[in-house]
Amino acid sequence: MKKKIVSILLMAAIAAGTLSGCGGQSGAQTGGTADTQSGSDAQGGNDAQAGETAAADEGKVINIYCWNNEFRERVELVYPEVVETSSDGTVTTLKDGTEIHWVVNPNQDGVYQQKLDEALINQANAAADDKVDIFLSETDYVNKYTDAAADVAIPLTDLGIDPDTDLADQYAFTKVTASDENGVQRGSTWQCCPGLLVYRRDIAQDVFGTDDPETIGEKVKDWDTIKATAAELKAKGYYTFASYADTFRLYGNSIDAPWVAPGETTIKVDQKIMNWVSDSKEWLDAGYLDSTVKGQWNSDWNQAMGSASKVFAFLFPAWGIDFTLKPNWDGGDGAWAVTNPPQEYNWGGSYVHACTGTDNPQHVKDIILAVTADKDNLLKISKEKTDFTNTQSSMREAATDDANFSSEFLGGQNAFKYFAPVAENIKMAPLSAYDQGCVELIQNSFSDYFQGMVDFDKAKTNFETAIKERYPEITEIQWPE
């Protein structure tokens, strides 16, 4: 009998042990929901005090999907309702007791989109407090989420935001980017990402005898001029840019037709992309680019931003200077300067969308307005976070306000002076849902061609193979003549 009891106990222990792994997650989730529910009961009184009648019957959890803490920092900075954020950065509490839950997944390798897609597909069946309320998207794939047929992002007008009046000060191209094929705006952004040419002052001194941004700007004003300048740099043993991928956005973001036209399954490779291929090959063979740097976002590329490197310039928008160049630069401040790029371009940008099915429409509207439409807030973001923000009038002001907007990293230069005119001249390339894969894979496939590993036709075939693997519905790839 004793034995039996002992064995039953043992068995139960083993069974519990085995199953605990499986049940862990759901257990924690139920626990979490129970907590928030009881929390919401307790804070029912606060609601009335806050006097937000519209928000009173809203859910108590706002779930925001994003890929880093960029958006959180901006919400904390300018959304007046924020009380505090937990030390691990996952929960932000608002004054009325509502909690913002940050669901962060890395952008790399499509992880963020995978997780977001799963959540969006399950949105209809999710419990009110588990529903996605706000999600972010990048320019490379914003089109996938603003699609009218998918209808995952609420049109701003349905939220009570009128793009024509509330967002009138935003740069027009950001509004077009965030709109679906019928022109209905389904997202909004606080930032605008005009790109500049960032160059090393010491190299400029050495080669051209001056580091004055106006003079250098003249030397890089268009592709023909910059090629002559590249030869001058080469003669002194310097590279103009680090990698062939550096110039891609200038060509790739100015294509005339989308990679894939709506409703079609044919990829049409734009002539501008082929220009990038032939120009890059020419530049690389001429020694204007550092042949040891292959693509971007790798250690060789990061090292090219260090003081030991021979690379003269990079092409970056505001976030690139702050998040990429600055951490990789090992010298003191004031070694870099910005000037106009050879061609106006836009690179990146995070769009904020209200998710269909949200149970917190009032809060969502307030957050979007606070972070992307309020001029004072945006100016504050520009000052504190050095973003080039999405408000035309104040960016024009910032361009002349050297006292408040000069950058120590750039040796006291006011970068906004150069950003603002670029931003106004950006012509945004028509987007498609396939942009991210196309951009990534075309750079990759032709990388072998640039290095002489494969011939031109093989690189084309490799692109076709890779893109069909990524997007099975693609039936044909058309190359320009």
């Binding site: 068995m11 390798d109 998918a150 995952v152 790798n298 060789d300 494969v454």
Partner: protein
């Protein structure tokens, strides 16, 4: 009374104890397995936010896989596996023979066993990341070689087919030779010391002893190592994936089968990925069958035959 006692069976406890495993296996392995096979006959993927399918397409997925570069990727996988496996088995045999040899009396065998096993404890992706940084064109290996004056300009390790494949092979070798050494040591220690002593008394040289006694007697374990390594090699993924950023550069020459599978999963292409998995399943299944045959039937016979051979030679 006696009869009643006999009818008491404790076997049910055995079944109850192993039940949790079978329940878990059924839910988490068997059902997905059956689903994978089922979906391999369907067109089923995600385009943007829309699911396409599942539409039954019969064997179309299998056909288009054969027509795609799958065979080439299988070749890549094989090449990558061979350049890792050959040095691995040679070094492991040598080390195992030395470590076990009573006459060499190597000190600190236990220490070396731990050291050679250590690389296996590092996560493969971390290991690949480390190599990626070390061997990048501006990385430490190139800097050291240049500062020593061994080379004039940087070597583009990851830019050439030879370089990339060698690096993958080197990493697989480093990660697995310790494991193989320990397994082979166990096998050699399982050989009766009488045989070694007898050969010694007869004046057998250590080289002959290795080839005529040790090798034939550990053949079953050697075969087992080979087969498990092939199956492991078929599933080679993390090292080349991280080293080449998932692209199998250059020119897709280090794209393995599982990397190919993974790139289908980026678009949730369950149909294609399922069909590829079934192909892999068939190949691994065949290899498992070989292992089964070797460990169950030939085990005793081959070792006995080898022992007889050795005895015969002694006469």
């Amino acid at each position: 009374m006696k009869q009643k006692r006999k009818s008491i069976s404790y076997s049910k406890w055995g079944y109850i104890f192993i039940l949790p495993f079978f329940v878990c296996f059924f839910i988490f392995s068997f059902i997905p397995l059956v689903d994978t096979v089922r979906y391999s006959f369907f067109e089923y993927y995600r385009s943007g936010l829309k699911d396409i399918g599942p539409n039954f397409v019969g064997l179309e997925n299998y056909g288009s896989l054969i027509k795609s570069d799958m065979i080439k990727y299988a070749g890549n996988t094989l090449v990558l596996w061979i350049i890792g496996f050959i040095p691995q088995i040679v070094i492991a045999l040598l080390l195992a023979a030395w470590f076990v040899d009573a006459r060499l009396k190597i000190h600190g065998v236990q220490f070396f066993k731990v050291v050679i096993y250590l690389p296996n404890l590092i996560m493969a992706s971390a290991f690949a990341m480390l190599f990626f940084t070390m061997f990048s064109t501006n990385g430490p290996i190139n800097s050291i070689l240049i500062s020593r004056g061994l080379i004039d300009s940087q070597i583009d390790f990851m830019g050439s087919v030879f370089g990339t494949r060698s690096l993958v092979g080197l990493m697989n070798f480093l990660m697995w030779f310790g494991n193989t050494t320990i397994m082979l040591m166990a096998a050699i220690m399982g050989i009766s010391p009488d045989i070694f002593e007898a050969s010694e008394i007869d004046g057998c040289s250590s080289v002959r002893r290795f080839f005529y006694i040790t090798l034939p007697l550990i053949r079953p374990i050697l075969a087992y190592t080979l087969i498990t390594s092939i199956i492991g090699g078929l599933q080679m993924f993390d090292v080349p994936q991280i080293l080449t950023n998932g692209q199998g550069n250059p020119d897709r020459t280090s794209m393995t089968l599982i990397m190919f599978l993974n790139s289908h999963l980026k678009s949730n292409n369950y149909g294609m990925a399922g069909a590829l998995s079934v192909y892999l399943f068939l190949v691994s299944g065949f290899l498992c069958f070989l292992v089964y045959r070797m460990t169950n039937n030939e085990d005793m016979d081959s070792s006995k035959a080898a022992a007889k051979k050795a005895k015969g030679r002694r006469k």
